[in-house]
């Protein structure tokens, strides 16, 4: 399969030696360690079209979210300064950060589940690395530098004014795109008006934000202009996890070797292909080099030319494959042109490619599915417990309780946090108090400004003759409209009631003074 001359399209401009990917080394790294730039050829087809639309949809989604106001805030606004996190009209406070656990584990299990079923669908269709590279940066490159052949020639050409102009234009647009993406990213954390305000002032007034945006833009520029597939191949851990997450029944992009091999040049006389090829016996295959009847693969190398990570999919599933489906479209196009059935390279499981049926329901998918469902159920419950207020009761500093001449007293502080973006009124009450207990503090409802918090005392006094030892009671918070309630159990602490009585007998006189 190596050192085959180009068959299709027979372009005289192509260099004689061609890139021949092997499974033993990375195509984009030369044996001296230098980087070998890949110039994936243009490809057309149903997956390419679908991917373009979904990619643009995702980019539009990312760009538009900060502009849509919902309940007075952008649809997604992670307000670092105020420590309030707005998601589609739903506001969480810093106190709710623990819910992030479900976000992280949910993402993990969803990815596990999807990977076990569909392989690297994420990489090819939804990962920001692929989405921006394929649908922004490569589009710019294609527009300025031309198709793969022209790009390769331009790269090899000596530096002329025309080449310099193209390079400046391309990298200028790259930088512009990177700055746009990072500015929008910052607006997720500071909101657009704040971002606009910062952009109109000198960088010195907001060094942190300025450095963040420009360093992030620099990283993006480096990544998308030069680093590209190296991130997927060398850095990203998800690709490395594939061998642990997938099995023979997971969907991946694969080459139907049974149908395709032995590959060979297209001969007009061997036009009728596939069913014959299927029937080829081992002996016939062995002798197919001399005979004119090869498998369905015409060895046009299109699948290699269009690959953005520089692999030959006909070597089987490889770690470098990001599942972009470009080779499927490329092969289908060729198969259509030579009037053979499409799908020689297709989305299929390893089992499916070897002629077996793909089992969708298997221990792995059941386990991942169950874990995902458990996670979703617990997360739903956890989110349902989030109330528009936070509330905490703690004892004031100093002694745990105070014994006066007439009474036993406990002092608490109640912290209330209004997590809403509108003022809210709260009613604080104590429940389960024994008869004769007097509460002071929170006689009237408390109104808190949007996102404000207050700490106020709650004092409970038991007359000595009503006091019968420590007890537990409940402090409850309601909003004025009675839409929710929060409760905490608190202990009223005090001395043993009998000892208090004895004590009272002994030093009655000593307490006869103004407290």
């Amino acid at each position: 399969m190596s050192e085959q001359p180009t068959v299709k399209p027979p372009s005289p401009r192509l260099p004689k030696t061609r890139l021949t990917p092997t499974v033993d080394s990375v195509t984009s790294i030369a044996s001296d360690g230098s980087r070998r730039d890949l110039h994936p050829a243009d490809v057309h087809g149903r997956f390419t079209t679908a991917r373009r639309w979904s990619g643009w949809g995702l980019i539009a989604f990312y760009l538009v979210l900060p502009w849509i106001p919902l309940n007075g805030h952008p649809a997604v606004f992670i307000d670092i300064a105020e420590r309030r996190f707005h998601f589609f009209g739903y506001t969480l406070a810093a106190q709710d950060t623990w819910l992030l656990f479900f976000g992280v584990t949910g993402l993990g299990f969803a990815l596990f589940f999807l990977t076990a079923l569909f392989g690297r669908l994420w990489c090819g269709w939804a990962c920001p690395q692929t989405v921006y590279l394929e649908h922004v940066y490569r589009v710019i490159e294609r527009w300025i530098d031309g198709d793969a052949t022209q790009r390769r020639e331009l790269a090899a050409a000596p530096l002329t004014a025309a080449k310099a102009g193209k390079r400046v234009a391309k990298h200028g647009l790259y930088i512009l795109a990177s700055l746009l993406i990072t500015h929008l990213f910052l607006s997720y954390f500071v909101s657009l008006p704040e971002l606009w305000d910062m952009m109109q002032h000198a960088p010195g007034e907001h060094w942190a934000a300025f450095l963040f945006v420009f360093i992030a833009a620099g990283i993006l520029y480096f990544n998308f202009a030069w680093f590209r597939e190296q991130l997927c191949i060398v850095i990203c851990p998800y690709g490395r996890l594939q061998s642990a997450l997938t099995d023979d029944h997971s969907l991946s992009i694969g080459y139907d070797a049974q149908r395709g091999e032995p590959r060979g040049k297209l001969r007009q006389e061997a036009g009728v292909g596939s069913e014959l090829a299927r029937a080829v016996s081992a002996e016939a295959r062995a002798s197919s080099l001399t005979h004119a009847k090869p498998g369905a693969c015409v060895d046009c190398n299109r699948c290699v030319q269009v690959c953005p990570t520089g692999i030959d999919i006909r070597h089987g599933l490889q770690m470098e494959c990001i599942g972009c489906a470009a080779c499927i479209d490329a092969c289908d196009e060729v198969m259509t042109r030579v009037k053979r059935p499409t799908g020689l390279i297709r989305y299929d499981s390893f089992a499916g490619l070897t002629g077996l049926a793909t089992r969708w329901v298997r221990p792995r998918t059941i386990l991942y599915g169950v874990l995902l469902c458990v996670g979703i159920a617990v997360a739903t419950f956890a989110f349902s417990t989030v109330k528009p207020a936070n509330f905490l009761v703690f004892r004031t500093g100093g002694a745990s309780y105070f014994v006066g001449p007439e009474d036993v007293r406990n002092q608490f502080m109640v912290r209330l946090v209004n997590k809403l973006t509108v003022p809210a009124t709260f009613i604080v009450s104590s429940e389960g108090l024994p008869a004769g207990l007097h509460q002071s503090g929170f006689e009237a409802p408390v109104t808190l400004a949007p996102m404000a918090e207050s700490v106020s005392p709650l004092v409970l006094v038991a007359r000595r003759h009503d006091y019968h030892g420590p007890f537990k009671f409940t402090v409850r918070v309601r909003d004025a409209a009675q839409t929710f309630t929060l409760a905490r159990e608190v202990e009223f602490m005090g001395p043993d009631a009998h000892l208090l009585k004895e004590d009272e007998e002994h030093d009655k006189e000593s307490h006869e003074r103004k407290p």
Binding site: S31, A155, A399, S456
Partner: protein
């Protein structure tokens, strides 16, 4: 940024000489960019070590913390009030800016014990705190003594220390508000607490 396809003279993949259990090892180079990150880290380490440890060009984290803390205490000192000056308290008690702010704090924090009227036990025997409007004081009735009670509390009786919670400014405002119910130079009685 080499862009040519595999040159014809590329030696390809090398194998190490040794063989163990019939297994041979490739001898492939790391990507150059990867090596550059290593070299870059080494260069960074040398520069960092020289700048921080040897030349002392940049302040260390410890000295930066010390500087910041000194700055904070200087700012505190600059905006702090002389709490031993009774006259200053009396002056503030006549200024609505201070008394209004003090009233706000008093209403949200002090009323459960001292009642909104500030009259405490004089108004309702069941109240926890003593009357703050009369001329009889328990822990001293001069403004600076009053401030000491508000800021440090009377732990044995349940009066919390408020300065750690409110800060000096708000504590002073509360004292000014209490003093606005009194006259400078009025006769006071002090019951020395046990």
């Amino acid at each position: 940024m080499s862009s040519s396809p595999l040159p014809p003279d590329d030696p390809g993949i090398k194998l190490r000489d040794h063989t163990y259990d019939g297994i041979q090892e490739y001898d492939q180079r790391l990507p150059n960019w990867w090596l550059y990150t290593l070299y870059g880290a080494i260069v960074f380490w040398v520069i960092y070590w020289f700048v921080y440890m040897i030349a002392g060009i940049m302040p260390t984290d410890g000295s930066r913390v010390d500087t910041a803390m000194a700055g904070i205490s200087a700012a505190k000192l600059a905006s702090s009030i002389d709490v031993s000056n009774d006259d200053k308290f009396w002056e503030m008690s006549g200024n609505v800016v201070f008394t209004d702010a003090g009233k706000q704090t008093f209403t949200s924090l002090c009323t459960p014990c001292h009642l909104p009227s500030m009259r405490g036990k004089s108004e309702n025997l069941a109240a926890v705190g003593p009357d703050l409007t009369d001329t009889a004081w328990i822990h001293g009735g001069t403004p600076k003594e009053l401030f000491a009670v508000v800021s440090k509390g009377v732990m044995a009786k349940g009066m919390p220390a408020w300065e750690p919670v409110l800060g000096q400014k708000k504590s002073v405002e509360v004292v000014a508000y209490i003093l606005s119910h009194h006259q400078k130079g009025e006769a006071i009685t002090v019951e020395v607490s046990k």
